[in-house]
């Protein structure tokens, strides 16, 4: 076995230099993606970023313009969807309305010309995994939204495939059901240990489900990494602003050098960046380079924690939003809107002057020109 094929065999889905154009519009821009066997990969991005398009390409529902797709080491770029070893779950459930649940589950198996006994067995197994034995003889119209999506998952399940593709499966459900099914999908992944590729625009779904997240924008992957990586060390300003709710604070300023130590000079304050994990050569460059300091609301130090922080400033509280478990404070710093989070029992009121601390180790510095993290 050559090195190349061995490498391919290890990853379940492999996307090589994939491009797709609709007429003159380039929807996917030479994508490379390796998805390991049993991995849960989430494609995350705002609408129109090409995440669903990429999933449709993997499924074989769209013909690619350039590049290749391998599933389990086999080049499937021009294979029919049914021959790729994939199962797919759609946002609108896409159940066949004239068939019963049983008919929906066995439709693909009948087309695969499986013997009747085997079809019955697989349907029964999927129904028991998803706890919907009682629903088998109902029509989709007689089911609730959550039940319908469960049937849709079951339809992928009976196919006994290596790769599951989910196209925003929970977007049509209400918040409570969404949370329930999210856990169910995670549990399913833990039991089956199949490769799953999951498209969503919901960052909570992405963070909770993913082994790795691929953040997409304008047809290319901005960052591919574990949820923690993406949260803690976003590669650029776009990813930093996209992940996290409430989203990250950005303070414009300059990167300067003082006593051999990097400092951030904002409007009306200055902070040492001692302990900031600069990425390689990022620190180089002329002094006074325009940068943005990004800090998540939940990483702003308050109360007793500010002791020892490299920067302590006082801000005036503008709006207080109690959320129960914690309270969100809106204020301003250096002429910019600035949000931070305090304990839910806090007694801070609008108009109060509150000292806050910024911790360089948890901050992010972005180059204004390139948007990249330094």
């Amino acid at each position: 076995m050559s090195v190349a094929t061995q490498e391919r065999a290890e990853s379940s889905v492999s996307i090589r230099d994939l491009s797709l154009s609709f007429g003159a519009t380039r929807v996917l821009e030479s994508l490379d993606l390796e998805i390991g066997a049993g991995e849960f990969l989430v494609l995350l991005g705002s609408s129109g970023c090409g995440k669903s398009t990429l999933l449709n390409c993997i499924a074989g529902l769209l013909d690619v313009s350039e590049g290749q797709i391998f599933i389990k080491g086999k080049n499937v770029t021009w294979e029919e969807p049914k021959d790729r070893g994939i199962g797919m779950v759609f946002q609108s459930y896409a159940l066949y309305p004239q068939m019963t649940v049983r008919g929906n589950l066995s439709f693909g198996l009948k087309h695969a010309k499986l013997p009747k006994a085997q079809i019955a067995e697989r349907v029964a197994r999927a129904a028991s995994v998803l706890q919907m034995e009682a629903l088998l003889d109902r029509k989709p119209a007689q089911l609730s939204g959550g039940q319908r999506q469960r049937v849709a998952i079951g339809r992928a399940l009976v196919r006994d495939v290596d790769v599951f593709l989910f196209d925003e499966p929970l977007s049509n459900l209400d918040a409570k059901l969404r949370a329930e099914l999210r856990v169910e999908i995670k549990r399913l992944h833990q039991t089956l240990a199949n490769t799953m590729i999951y498209v969503t625009h919901d960052q909570v779904e992405a963070m909770t489900l993913a082994d790795r997240i691929a953040i997409m924008k304008a047809g290319s992957v901005q960052q591919l990494g574990s949820p923690k990586d993406i949260y803690n060390r976003p590669v650029n300003r776009y990813v930093a602003a996209f992940i996290g709710s409430p989203s990250m604070n950005f303070l414009p300023g300059q990167l300067i050098e003082q006593d051999g130590q990097a400092h951030f000079r904002g409007e009306g304050f200055e902070a040492s960046l001692a302990g900031y994990p600069f990425d390689g050569a990022g620190r180089d460059g002329e002094a006074g380079r325009p940068v943005e300091l990004g800090i998540r609301p939940e990483h702003v130090l308050t109360g007793a924690d500010i002791e020892g922080a490299p920067l302590v400033v006082e801000v005036v509280v503008d709006v207080v939003e109690p959320m129960g478990s914690d309270t969100q404070i809106w204020s301003s710093l250096g002429g910019q809107e600035f949000r931070f989070r305090v304990d839910g029992q806090s007694e801070i009121r609008p108009g109060d002057r509150v000292p806050i601390g910024l911790d360089a180790a948890r901050a992010n510095v972005f180059d204004v020109a390139t948007g990249l993290r330094l």
Binding site: G60, K82, F90, A94, Y96, P97, Q98, H111, A141, R155
Partner: protein, 309 residues
């Protein structure tokens, strides 16, 4: 409300046992109703009167008709004109009545409807779901076809049928009806199939169904309403056709409409109004039955289609 306490909450009024309940009653003979139903009645009478005259006349003998009271009911009811219209009326040398035309029309209509709907539904499905290369050009040409006046195409069609050896035959007319029905039917089916969620089609592809599998097992069962609409359009359109029937067939193969014309407009002998009326009603009966029968099916079809899956 005299007994209601001063200062009582307005909600108390609703629960007052003596207070008004239910919707506000409307007078039956309001000016609005009189005007509305009066107009409707007038229009209905205006449209129904000719039918009444036809039915009444067809049940009278010729001496009674000659008296001239076209609105009076028949004194002596006779079904002789109906029998004559169906099996004895003469057109040219043939004296076997409308029945020959009726069967010709049946032989023309049934295959025309079945073939045109079968082809157009597949056309519409391919155009809506498979977006093959050149689909838009094909569709534009087809739509363009729907707007070409028939008269322009009459003579080229004659040549075409002659070359095919179908000129004058019933199958030639079937071919003409199938072709001329294609643009509007394809448009109808394409629009309907486009309204079916695309994800359903994608799901069926992932499940391994092919072009025909998706069409026959997923699309067609969901499309009863549009098939009924297409059938109504085609049956009435083809049954009522006169122009193509008279041009592309020969006397032995004339459809019912053409034969009716020949009976009614015969210039020889006495004008038998009662026979003419009976013949006309007989000819119009098929579209009428289609409307009444399929109307119910049509509504049921729409209702069945409205249940979201």
């Amino acid at each position: 409300m005299a007994e209601s306490t001063v200062g009582a909450l307005p909600t108390a009024v609703a629960t007052d046992p003596h207070g008004p309940r239910g919707a506000r009653p409307r007078p039956v003979f309001s000016r609005r109703n009189i005007f509305l139903y009066g107009t409707l009645l007038l229009v209905a009478v205006y449209y129904a009167l000719p039918l009444y005259v036809m039915v009444v006349t067809s049940l009278k003998g010729m001496p009674e008709i000659r008296l001239g009271n076209i609105f009076s009911p028949p004194v002596e009811v006779t079904f002789q004109p109906w029998v004559k219209a169906w099996s004895e009326a003469c057109t040219g040398l043939n004296c076997d009545g409308l029945q020959r035309g009726f069967w010709n029309s049946v032989i023309i209509t049934v295959p025309s409807v079945v073939i045109s709907i079968a082809i157009a539904s597949v056309n519409g499905y391919a155009l809506a779901n498979w977006r093959f290369k050149g689909a838009n050009v094909f569709f534009t040409i087809l739509i363009f076809g729907a707007f070409i006046p028939y008269q322009v195409l009459l003579y080229p069609m004659v040549i075409l049928l002659r070359e095919l050896g179908l000129y004058g035959s019933l199958w030639g007319l079937v071919l003409v009806h199938t072709i001329f029905g294609m643009p509007i039917l394809t448009l109808l089916f394409r629009n309907y199939f486009s309204s079916i969620p695309e994800e359903l089609f994608k799901a069926a592809r992932v499940d391994g169904a092919g072009f025909w599998g998706i069409f026959l097992q997923i699309m067609v069962p969901m499309s009863l309403p549009i098939f009924v609409v297409a059938m109504i359009l085609q049956i009435t359109g083809i049954w009522n056709d006169f122009l193509f029937g008279v041009i592309y067939t020969k006397p032995a193969n004339y459809p019912m409409t053409v034969q009716l014309n020949n009976i009614v407009n015969s210039v020889q002998g006495v004008k038998e109004y009662n026979v003419n009326m009976a013949a006309t009603i007989l000819t119009g009966l098929v579209p009428l039955i289609v409307y009444f029968a399929s109307g119910k099916l049509f509504v049921r079809g729409i209702a069945a289609g409205a249940v979201k899956g």
